[in-house]
């Protein structure tokens, strides 16, 4: 292994270790306690919370902001794709030309979405006022990760930079809002629990 791969391995360990810690801490804390007799059921509401309630037609944060919402979805898909490709690149799995072109094309699109979201954050008064340095840094690191991924797929000479940038992202993860990747699922669960017991979700119960 090269020196930069060792660095990446260590940072990956920190990333996975902290992710596991956050996830296990939530699991250990268990379900919320609610002594009030339930009007509805939790399980279908949690399913709804993770599915129907996420339907863009149901959420103003989506349907009133379709370009941002669409960009956000593409950006997140690009991040997950980049994470997957990170392991492929590391294991030096061979790619033929066509898949590289398609994947790179998608990552160009998704990273452009990231840049667009970054510009919007700096541009709009409400968002700028709400933002702290972490909001910008998290975006920049993830966008660079996607850019690095499609460059690394085609230009092997850039691998050291790619691995170093990825290492910085992994090390930054526990300090930042990027942790929401874990809390997101817990938040959806808790909403399902709350609205499910009260018979509000799934809709049509009350």
């Amino acid at each position: 292994m090269t020196w930069y791969e060792w660095i990446t391995l260590c940072s990956l360990g920190i990333f996975l270790g902290t992710s596991l810690f956050y996830a296990l801490r939530l699991i250990r804390l268990g379900k919320p306690v609610d002594k009030a007799p339930a009007s509805g059921s939790v399980a279908p509401a949690v399913r709804y919370s993770m599915s129907g309630a996420m339907n863009p037609a149901k959420k103003e944060s989506a349907y009133l902001h379709l370009p941002t919402y669409g960009a956000g979805i593409l950006y997140h898909l690009g991040t997950f794709l980049s994470l997957l490709l990170f392991f492929f690149i590391w294991m030096q799995l061979p790619f033929s030309r066509m898949p590289v072109l398609i994947l790179s094309g998608f990552l160009v699109l998704s990273s452009s979405c990231g840049i667009g979201i970054l510009i919007k954050r700096g541009w709009k008064n409400e968002l700028r006022a709400l933002s702290n340095p972490d909001d910008y840094i998290s975006n920049i690191l993830v966008t660079l990760f996607q850019v690095g991924t499609f460059l690394a797929l085609s230009i092997p000479e850039l691998l050291p930079f790619y691995f170093l940038e990825t290492s910085i992202l992994f090390l930054y993860f526990p300090l930042s809002k990027l942790k929401h990747v874990i809390y997101f699922f817990a938040a959806r669960y808790h909403l399902g629990f709350f609205f499910g017991r009260r018979g509000v979700w799934p809709p049509g119960n009350g």
Binding site: R25, L26, L29, G30, K31, P32, V33, D34, K35, A36, P37, S39, G40, S49, A53, K59, E60, S61, A62, L64, H65, T68, Y69, G72, K124, N125, E126, L127, A129, L130, S131, N132, P133, D134, D135, I137, P174, L175, S176, K177, K179, H180, Y183, F184, A186, A187, R188, Y189, H190, L191, F194, R198, G199, V200, P203, N205, G206
Partner: protein, 441 residues
Amino acid sequence: MRIANSEMGTANSELTREQILKGLEPLGTNGDSKLLTHLNSCVHCGLCAESCLFYLATKDPRLTPARKVDLVASIYKRYHTFSGKYLPGLVGARNLDTATADEMVDLLFGSCTGCGRCTMHCSIGVDISYLVSVGRKMLSNMDLVPSTLQSTVKAAIDTGNNMAIPTADFVDTVKWMEEEMADEVGNPEASIPIDQPGKRILYTLNPREPKFYPLSISAMAKIFYMAGESWTLSTRMYDVTNYAFFSGNREEAGLIANRLWKEMEHLQCESLVLGECGHGTRAFRWESPNYLDRGVPFPVMSSVECIANYIREGKIRLDPEKITEKVTIHDPCNLVRNGGVIGAQRFILEQFVPDFIEMIPSGADNHCCGGGGGMLSMSEYNERRIGAGAIKAEQIRKTGAKIVVTPCHNCVDQLIQLNAAYKLDVKIQTMAEIVAEALII
């Protein structure tokens, strides 16, 4: 938890160290996955802004739900996360100091009704109104609840009802309403029972009823009479409201709720029917078992569900020709979005209102009227409250309805004020009032 003085920001602060420590207590996430989750979930996307009536009505970026979440979460980060402790500037972590506390009072008490609409629309699923309630609890721990709201809580604790109505006045009003009701049903023997043990139902009221709207007492009494119900009011504890639910003081909320439990035991009634009050219903039905750490040993329902049951069971009949004007319904946030009573009120109106129109949006997605969260008692925010009500006023205007029904006396109060401020020219009624009007006697 050890906190250094510098971390507490006491150098420039008028808050005492003790106040700060007490204020931070509700942010302890040990053992609370819900709190831990929601404090760590917001990504500052800002997409919740348009879901909040305060932002919609003012376009003030300070009033977005995200800013309210951030205020509470930034304090949490400062004292409970590595980056917040050592790199506070990076993640926007804030000390709990006088300036922060002032902002909390203004945003969490003065610019949020806790309606929860933003929660449903948040891109992640952050329970924003829950975090607002956590922030209110922090302020309550620091004795920073607005004095107007706290005096309402105090009145309830000291006198048994939030309007400090003397028992003799209450009894006089009920007796007067008894005569009204007896007249209407054409039976001089018809009565409004008070303090009668062993009845099937103990019924509670919003103190606004005996104080300002006594006819809503006779309306519900008429429904009970026609349904042949065995019921009673109590003079010791008839107040359905619980303003400590708004002030964030769990102990006081528990104390108020416990009185109702005790009165149920004292009068040995079978079921508790909560009068038309959104937050009161929520505070007792959903929150009090958690305040008091015990399950409810008797059935509890809202009066809307009770009326719907009477119709289903054929105990009351309604004249479909009585109400000729167009009717719409305003869904109280605490009864509907946060309480799950969504279909009962619609079922009732379907029985006798031929010209019914829904607001858009409605049901669990309805906009708050702006009067919840204790706003009606905090007169210092009157202007903001009426301003935020512009969203509801516009919703009502768009329906073209002439009657707005809402099963909540707090909402009634706010809607009456919106009616005047925005010249809506509508009649505001509770569910019992419109049903009583259409009762076939």
